[in-house]
């Protein structure tokens, strides 16, 4: 177990790299950053730091069955922004970011088709629409295709290197550090511009199906996206926005997989145990029924359950055998094991409707608006630091297409910034301290003495008087679920619960020096939980600060159940690096598109579209 691991910090090899553009996270948006940067400027030196392997890493690992943001015939960039705004109850939403994204959205989506992704077409050869802005693809090879395109530009790709912190020179971000998951080395990368594109944060909360055997990671989002991108920004003092706007969605129950495929794509309506339509009920119909804002659709089934009218379903009993087959093909392109799930229950969707439930909350800036506070160039509040994709805050409803466009915009932002820029100076003390912080759990694991008798047939780590990362992770997840509005609490929380959560998060943060790792894989788990703690703390602070209920479900305060008009603004936060405390602040909303923000202009139907 301890064979071959370093026992002292000096045994850890260092790798020093100087690059122009560092991209942390080689997922969808990270790849688009590389492709755009190299495409516009082939001489630029681009490095991608990727925790897994770029061919399949990120939320697109199993594939994708739809692109949920495409501006089709009859729609405009303004209409999609207005729709997005209405979907989040009128905002807040950075209309400037959303408009710049919408302007290039289609060409980003179309480039996927040019690279070989099959897009479903209608009889006129246009992209087949399954929803207002949703089009269908066969995306099982989506990530490998994007990865191949990225590789064709020959950036330096560091697979299996996990980012640990940003490097700073005063207030400037001048690169980042990381460690090799396979080679055990410490990476110090200097960059003129750094883009954080690590996806969202999953596993802050306990998932509903988490159990003691084999379904710990039964969640909608990639569980290996732990929010490192947010955490390193928090620790560096960058400003974050709307971290209280958690993405709690309706999912197929137990499996916790996507349900939009069914509800939007096949027009399957939500029903409760009695067979009553949920969204058409008086409770929700005034909010738009099926076109109600997303958080309504998330909360509705949970509301039914908590009031004793569960289980809840999407009614698929009207589907023809061909439609069931198409439905399954959609799933095979996105979460293939859902088909296995149905098979393992002998369930035919045409005979039995599909069960739905809420999911554990995620922080995903591509779905809601949580993330870094960025300007139009996607630069964060620290010079040299950019955010793309789910990491960038202020703009919800990006999904795959929008995150790709964000990558392109962030690339353009970095190119502007890099020209004429130097590398800055690396503070060697900072590097030494960081190396110590990163590797001390591993050194601890290599030098600890066994104290307890070895339990036969069990994990040998129980011999040591210390804390395993899994223990701390499970503690955090249950804490958040019970006290910070998890699915177990039907997303509800109050001030006292949130304070309790904060107290215990801080107690855990004080105990991270008890975590140990006996191999490099464990070291990843240690840093995963350390990063999650930092993100969770900020999420709870934001939940506490927003004393109202603007988007029930995404944020449900039982002690402030109404909307407070004075909170029609951004709630932001930033760590004060002198005191170490997180400061909360507010920023005003800026409306660009006129009109009622809670309403989306109706789509203009296509001449060929039939109901």
């Amino acid at each position: 177990m301890k064979k071959g691991l370093p026992k002292t910090i000096d045994e850890v090899e260092e790798v020093r790299i100087e690059t122009d553009l560092l991209i942390i996270g080689g997922g969808n948006s990270g790849c688009f950053v590389a492709i755009e940067a190299k495409g516009k400027n082939p001489d630029i030196d681009v490095t991608i730091m990727e925790k897994a392997h770029i061919d399949r890493s990120g939320a697109l690992a199993a594939g994708m069955d739809a692109i949920n943001t495409y501006i089709g015939e009859g729609e405009t960039p303004e209409s999609i922004v207005a729709w997005s705004r209405a979907q989040v109850g009128g905002g807040p939403l950075r209309e400037d970011l959303a408009l710049s994204n919408a302007a290039i959205l289609n060409q980003c989506v179309e480039s996927l088709e040019a690279w070989g992704v099959p897009f479903k077409k209608d009889e006129k050869g246009r992209y087949k629409r399954r929803g207002r802005f949703d089009i269908s693809i066969h995306g099982e090879q989506l990530k490998p295709i994007i990865a191949e395109k990225t590789k064709s530009y020959n950036p330096r790709i560091l697979n299996r290197v996990a980012a640990t912190n940003l490097l700073k020179d005063g207030d400037r971000v001048i690169g980042a550090t990381g460690f090799g998951i396979r080679d055990g080395k410490f990476y110090v990368i200097k960059a003129k511009a750094t883009v954080v594109s690590t996806g969202g944060a999953a596993g802050l909360y306990r998932s509903a199906t988490n159990d003691g055997t084999t379904s710990h990671h039964q969640m909608w989002m990639n569980p290996f996206n732990v929010g490192t991108g947010y955490a390193i920004g928090i620790r560096a003092g960058a400003e974050f926005t709307l971290m209280e706007q958690r993405w709690c969605a309706t999912r197929v129950k137990d499996f916790c997989g996507p349900v939009d495929t069914i509800s939007v794509g096949y027009k399957a309506k939500m029903i409760n145990a009695k067979g009553e339509l949920i969204l058409d009920s008086p409770r929700y119909s005034h909010l738009g029924g099926d076109t109600a804002p997303r958080y309504i659709r998330a909360n509705a089934p949970m509301g039914e359950w908590s009031e004793g009218r569960g289980p809840t379903f999407v009614d698929t009993r009207h589907l023809s055998p061909n439609q069931v087959k198409d439905l399954k093909i959609d799933y095979l392109n996105e979460r293939p094991t859902y088909v296995l799930f149905l098979a393992s229950r002998g369930q035919d969707p045409a005979k039995e409707p599909l069960e739905i439930y809420g999911s554990d909350p995620y922080i995903v800036g591509g779905h809601t608006a949580s993330g870094y506070w960025v300007d139009g160039d996607r630069m964060a509040t620290l010079s040299g630091l950019f955010a793309a994709g789910e990491c960038a805050g202020g703009m919800p409803n990006k999904f795959v297409g929008g995150c790709a466009a964000e990558g392109v915009l962030a690339a353009r932002g970095t190119l502007k910034h890099i020209s004429g820029m130097d590398h800055g100076n690396v503070d060697q003390d900072q590097v030494v301290a960081e190396k110590e912080r990163v590797f001390s759990p591993l050194l601890r694991g290599a030098t600890m003495e066994a104290k307890y008798t070895l339990p036969v047939g069990q994990d040998p780590r129980w011999q040591y008087d210390a804390v395993t990362p899994e223990e701390m992770e499970e503690r955090l997840q249950r804490l958040m679920d019970e006290y910070a509005g998890g699915v177990g609490q039907f997303f509800k929380c109050n001030e006292e619960q949130l304070n309790y959560a904060l107290k215990h998060i801080r107690m855990m943060k004080n105990q991270v020096n008890k975590l140990f790792a006996t191999c490099l894989h464990d070291l990843v788990l240690v840093h995963d939980v350390v990063d999650r703690l930092d993100v969770a703390e900020v999420v709870v602070l934001h939940l506490r600060e927003r004393r109202e209920c603007r988007w029930p479900g995404w944020q449900t305060r039982t002690d402030y159940p109404e909307v407070d008009p004075s909170l029609d603004c951004y709630i932001n936060s930033r760590r004060d690096l002198k005191t170490g405390e997180i400061e909360m602040l507010k920023r005003p909303y800026q409306q660009i598109l006129p009109g009622d923000r809670t309403k989306a202009p109706s789509p203009i139907p296509l001449s060929a579209e039939k109901a």
Partner: protein
């Protein structure tokens, strides 16, 4: 794709093709296909006028691709390579041997198959690329390892052909085993005579550098530019202070002539070698004959026992080729020296091939006894007389002979020198440790491009054949000694964007042509490669394609293949036929008028090992009813392990089909040898019947 101009040319082959295939209707259809700007039908495309017509059309229509529907692509290759367009942009469709000739009974079916072929070829040709041979500079220096008779002659032949030669020999002197002989056959002359002649030629040729007391330490680089380090130790034991010298030479080709070792018969305890006096080996005989005059002259009774160690499952299971003649030679020498010498040769079979028959007859005429039977043991009495007891198979009775000496005709083993070089040079040897690539077709190859073998390191052989083999090896080596090597551009290309560095290609290449670049990606040395395609077949990600056949082409052909081209009830089989054996057999079936069902469409592949499992899976997924991989029988594969690997990969696909509740019988392998067209036709017929039982493939792409 519509900006490519394609010309489609149909040959009626003086009516031979047209009588079974409706060429006019196909020509009509072809002219309607995207990109087809020229269509022509001719009675004899390979004639001067036919070829001229194609050339004219290439010019007139600015053709980028030429599709020729005619005889088998294995015929008339020179003619159709010279059409005024890069020859790799010409695609041949087998309309004769594997269509009109194989399916004469039902011309509708032949036409239907031809139509399917046309569609596939039009798709394939879109992806074809213009390729040129790659010219690689090479040195005009050769290395010969081993200074025996084969090595010396190789050096002389190479120098005679204009190369500079380094001849290295481990011992301090040249001559090898031949110099240990007293006489050699057939002329019974002393080897020193021949050797002296060779030595003087060596010395007088400034192009030959002889290094004795020298050994190869290491080899790197590629054919045309091998870098070899040679260690020369002091040959004078009285001057140990003379340092060991190491030098590096660059050689374009290497000929190995590391010779043989005698089999040690001590293991055959029944013959008492080393225990009984006057029991000697045939080499001992030579030594004694050379050193002691009276050895031959002194009258005595001698028994020769043949096949000592050879043709023996316990020791050398093969025949050592020379021992019969050596014993006959030695017997004749004894008789010549003293006509009163009595000699008996105990044998299994007497192998006196060709003109050596005369020596055998001479031996019999001179009174040398031949008894068919191998003695079971030798017993020596107190006087030293040895009794040899044997069951005479011809007479049918036991007989006993008392003799003064017994000569054991021991065989040849591969030498220790060869074994040492195996690792240095990465050679392949056969199971007897002789150097071998493909017995039948490439007898002098070593399974490493640019490295050849001559003489007994290849197999047991006599002096005449050793000298001949040296000449033959020289001829093969000359390709690499012209100052420049032209590499045919059919070698594989790795798509680095897809490659995951699993290393399968590097490991499975039978010719060790792959190495790793500085990022760990596989790169092929085009000089070592033989374009067998085993790498293409084994890549789990389909990242490797050959110059003439790419994964993209195969996948495209599968897209357009109409899997109901013979009708809804007829199964369609896609046959991947290896170009050396199975494809020829299929052609032969047509040429011999052996009718074959038209359900099989063939794709020629360099080796059955070149077929990728993903392509097979894709074919099944796209609705093909059956896949046939036909290659050489295992031990005849030109690419050493192609057939074996093909079978393993097919087994993997078969297992996967089983798991997927599809019939594993939809993929199969057949060993079809070049000269067995009947077997080919029978295999296809049987397969079609089985597939009819199984029913149509339930899969089709949505």
């Amino acid at each position: 794709m519509s900006d490519i101009n394609i010309g489609v040319f149909f040959c009626t082959c003086e009516g031979e093709i047209e009588k079974a295939i409706a060429l006019d209707s196909l020509a009509q259809e072809a002219s309607g296909r995207p990109g087809v700007v020229a269509v022509r039908k001719d009675s004899c495309l390979c004639s001067e006028h036919g070829l001229g017509a194609i050339r004219e059309d290439v010019n007139k229509f600015g053709l980028d691709r030429v599709l020729v529907a005619a005889c088998s692509p294995s015929l008339k290759t020179k003619e159709f390579a010279d059409l005024g367009i890069n020859k790799y942009l010409v695609e041949r469709m087998n309309f004769r041997e594997q269509c009109s000739q194989s399916h004469p009974d039902n011309s509708e079916d032949a036409t239907k198959k031809a139509r399917a072929l046309l569609g596939m070829s039009l798709e394939k040709i879109r992806h074809s690329k213009a390729l040129e041979p790659v010219m690689v500079p090479a040195v005009r220096t050769a290395l010969v390892v081993g200074g025996g008779v084969a090595g010396i002659n190789a050096a002389l032949d190479l120098a005679g052909a204009g190369a500079e030669v380094f001849l290295i020999e481990k011992k301090p002197f040249l001559g090898g085993r031949v110099s240990e002989l007293h006489r050699y056959y057939p002329r019974l002359c002393p080897p020193s005579c021949g050797l002296e002649l060779m030595f003087s030629k060596l010395e007088s040729d400034p192009r030959i550098h002889v290094l004795t007391s020298s050994e190869v330490e290491g080899l790197s680089g590629s054919p045309g530019n091998f870098s070899i380090s040679i260690k020369t130790s002091s040959s004078d034991p009285t001057k140990p202070s003379e340092k060991v010298q190491v030098r590096t030479i660059i050689a374009g080709a290497v000929i190995l002539a590391t010779g043989w070792e005698p089999f040690d018969p001590t293991a055959l305890t029944e013959y008492g070698y080393g225990r009984l006096e006057h029991v000697i080996t045939n080499l001992d005989f030579e030594k004694s004959a050379r050193e002691q005059k009276q050895f031959l002259e002194q009258q005595k009774k001698t028994a020769f026992i043949q096949c000592v160690g050879s043709r023996d499952e316990r020791h050398l299971p093969y025949c050592s080729d020379v021992c019969c003649m050596v014993s006959i030679k030695q017997a004749l020498l004894l008789k010549q020296a003293n006509p009163d010498n009595e000699i008996t040769i105990f044998y299994n079979d007497i192998r006196a091939p060709g003109e050596y028959e005369a020596m055998y007859r001479q031996a019999r005429t001179r009174g040398i006894q031949f008894i068919k039977g191998i003695p079971s043991e030798l017993r020596q009495d107190a006087q030293g007389k040895i009794s040899v007891s044997v069951f005479d198979l011809v007479a049918g009775e036991r007989t006993e002979v008392a003799v003064d000496q017994v000569v054991l005709a021991t065989g040849m083993k591969a030498s220790g020198g060869t074994a040492e070089l195996k690792n240095t040079f990465g050679l392949a040897t056969n199971k007897y440790n002789f150097i071998e690539s493909h017995l039948q077709c490439h007898p002098l190859d070593s399974q490493r491009e640019g490295i050849f073998s001559a003489g007994c390191c290849r197999a047991p052989m006599d002096v005449s054949r050793s000298i001949e083999s040296a000449g033959a090896a020289t001829a093969k080596a000359l390709r690499y000694l012209q100052g420049e090597i032209a590499v045919t551009p059919d070698f594989p290309v790795v798509d680095i964007l897809k490659c995951d560095r699993c290393k399968r290609c590097v490991e499975e290449c039978p010719f060790k042509a792959y190495s790793f670049d500085d990022k760990g990606f596989p790169q092929v040395d085009i000089l070592k490669c033989r374009a067998c395609g085993i790498c293409m077949g084994g890549c789990p990600l389909g990242a490797i394609s050959l110059g003439e056949l790419s994964i993209e082409q195969l996948s495209g052909m599968l897209d357009v293949l109409d899997t109901s081209y013979l009708g809804e009830d007829e199964p369609v089989i896609l046959g991947f036929l290896c170009k050396n054996d199975a494809y020829r057999a299929a052609d032969d079936a047509g040429a011999k008028g052996i009718s074959c069902p038209s359900n099989l469409i063939s794709i020629m592949v360099p080796c059955s090992g070149a077929v990728n499992g993903m392509i097979i899976s894709e074919a099944i997924a796209k609705g093909v009813d059956g896949i046939l991989l036909a290659g050489c029988p295992d031990n005849q594969c030109h690419c050493i392990q192609g057939s074996v690997l093909a079978k393993t990969r097919l087994a993997d696909v078969s297992n996967k089909l089983k798991e997927m509740y599809l019939e594993p019988e939809r993929v199969r392998f057949a060993s079809i040898s070049r000269d067995d067209p009947e077997k080919f036709a029978a295999t296809v017929k049987e397969y079609v019947e089985e597939l009819k039982q199984l029913g149509k493939n339930p899969l089709r792409i949505q």
